[in-house]
Amino acid sequence: MNVSLKRIQAIIVKDYKEFSRNYAISVMILFPLLFAFMYRSDGAEQATMYAFVINFSLAMLTSFVQACLIAEEKERNTLRSLMMTPASMLDVLIGKSALVFIISAAVLALSTYTFGYDTSNMMVLVAAIGISILLYTAVGTICGLYSKTLIEASLSIFPVLIIFTMGPFALVFEEDYPFVKVLRYLPSSQLSELLNALEIGATTNELIINLVIISMWAIVLTVISFVLYKKRLMDR
């Protein structure tokens, strides 16, 4: 496997400078904090609302920013220039995803603090959110690679936002419409279920199935993003 930390670092530093100077995209870090502040609560619905804030933030921050960073590189032909350097496919994808991962992790940690959510099983919470960030980064990569322009990429996030964020809420109709049960397997529904279970004191073993489903989504979408990257950026 051809991976170089120096090359990954060079891409992260470059992306950070680009991100910090692109206010249209960097402003997105404020939305999770704003939502966490608006919906903060300590009542019976705390876990449900916290899950909504996290799922919304993952789509609106992680996927959106990643999609825009990838689409902009495509639009300006800089991704092709990167590919002609010794940077391997993994260097580029890891480098480009690392910045979004770090920013998402930091903003979601701050959002969690702002929201006032607390749990005794912090390890499971961190694992679930960490895997979800990977998953939503892959979704952003896929949307970015499918889009020809930055505008197309920003619009492509809306279906993701609607399905993944609203999916868990649609489960209230599952008794009337059995096909809605399929939404239970969405990563956002699994995260929501996990957070609700955490609130009533579920053990780590009881939450393994949720973590496995989220992980499977992350693995499948990451593989798809890698395959798509290779396919989209070569003229074969």
């Binding site: 051809n2 891409i11 680009e18 032909n77 800089t78 590919m83 070569m234 074969r236």
Partner: protein
């Protein structure tokens, strides 16, 4: 020793041929020009040589390795590429763009100073790409392509839409690189560029090589065998190069009537039109 060897390359897109049985060699240290109008297959060939595209049939070696291996990290260190759509990061400065490439090639910090000096942009290193002129951007793109001092340089229309001053600047830099051992493969539709820069050129038309050789050789091959004599009276005579003409010229000369005398050679552009029957645009 050849840096590039192309054997019977064919490429079709949806059954439509883009390259037809293209073969040629480029020795180490040569500046080789690929001439042809837009859509003649120049960029397709460049993409095949840099493993961005697979040929339908035929083979090519670049730097002693099959061209399909040019996307391997070790091979990518050995060549540089500048295309008409090579991108730069608009929000970053010239120096920050080069810093990225320095990191990707794992080069010392001094490589940035060296390449900036080479493209004459040292004083502008802190300027953002978004404020640069087209000529300056092209020089930054060239700097990104050569920062690692490649053995082989691929250039796709390097001076298209540049003013004469910037073009001259880039030509000077390319000659310097070539003198220091870099083999250069250049595609262009600019005849002057081909003539002043390239040791050999290939004329490509509708995916086929119609002629290949040094510009002077091509001109010699395609000259029309006439000479023009301009007389002091303002009259101009076009004569075939034979014994009768020699006598006539000698007479004019003895009477001091000759103002100018020259052989009629076709320009590369004329040769292109003669060979392909179409204009080079």
């Amino acid at each position: 020793m050849n840096t590039i060897s192309v054997q019977n390359i064919q490429k079709s897109f949806a059954g439509k041929p883009a390259l037809k049985d293209v073969s040629f060699d480029i020795p180490k240290g040569e500046i080789f020009g690929f001439l042809g109008p837009s859509g003649s297959g120049k960029t397709t060939l460049l993409k095949i040589l840099t493993a961005q595209l697979d040929p339908t049939s035929g083979s090519a070696t670049v730097l002693d390795k099959p061209a399909k291996l040019m996307q391997k990290t070790d091979q990518k260190r050995r060549f540089g590429i500048l295309t008409d759509n090579s991108g730069l990061y608009e929000r970053l400065t010239i120096e920050e763009n080069l810093e990225l490439f320095r990191g990707l090639y794992d080069l010392p910090k001094s490589s940035i100073d060296k390449v900036l000096n080479f493209v004459n942009l040292t004083a502008d290193r802190k300027k953002r790409i978004s404020v640069l002129s087209k000529g300056m951007r092209q020089r930054v793109t060239l700097a990104c392509a050569i920062i690692h001092e490649p053995e082989m340089l691929f250039l796709d229309e390097p001076t298209s839409a540049l003013d004469p001053v910037n073009t001259a600047h880039i030509h000077k830099g390319l000659r310097y690189l070539n003198e220091n051992g870099t083999t250069i493969f250049l595609t262009t539709h600019d005849m002057t560029e081909a003539e002043t820069l390239c040791e050999r050129v290939a004329i490509l038309h509708k995916g086929e090589i119609r002629a290949i050789g040094a510009p002077a050789e091509l001109k010699k091959t395609h000259r029309d065998g006439t000479l023009t004599v301009e007389l002091t009276s303002g009259q101009s005579e076009r004569l075939p190069m034979n014994e009768n003409s020699a006598t006539q010229v000698a007479n004019w000369m003895s009477q001091g009537q000759i103002d100018r005398i020259y052989t009629n050679e076709l320009s590369l552009g004329d040769i292109f039109i003669k060979l392909t029957g179409s204009e080079l645009v």
